[in-house]
Symmetry: C2
Subunit: 86 residues, 2 copies
């Protein structure tokens, strides 16, 4: 399924979260990742993030899109385009 | 249509962008907004953001979802829930 994941975590954990997510998803902006995951990959991602994060301070939102026919528009810089990776 | 908007703009412009977007969408995390816009509202939002932003430095990504049947999962804090507003 197509995933958009946005995170807001304490400064100490930013780099770890970023590095981990890069193994599964494409970094598209600041603290935003996008990509396709299987259900089991998503479970791996969630399990690891839950271990890593401080659930009292951090927030991670995962949008799971059942249809991939959404439209993405970028104003300004395209910091890292998924289309150049896939 | 359902919109997810994520922004990464220079520090000087963060507050202005945030304040403007709150008039149209629901703030759900750090630099992430979600909500429903008509086509003309989206055009207003884009026109204003384009004026406000520095297109050589800033990045704003707008996901336009044609179907609203996506699923949102939150790990950790729910900083501002759309469900409590609508």
């Amino acid at each position: 399924m197509r995933i958009i994941l946005v995170y807001d975590v304490g400064e100490k954990r930013v780099q770890k979260v970023h590095k981990f997510l890069k193994r599964y998803l494409h970094w598209i902006q600041n603290s935003v990742f996008e990509g396709d995951l299987t259900t089991s990959e998503l479970e791996e991602v969630k399990a690891y993030l839950k271990k890593l994060m401080n659930e009292d301070e951090d927030s991670i939102i995962i949008f799971k899109l059942k249809f991939t026919n959404y439209n993405k528009e970028i104003l300004g810089l395209e910091k890292n385009s998924i289309s150049t990776i896939i």
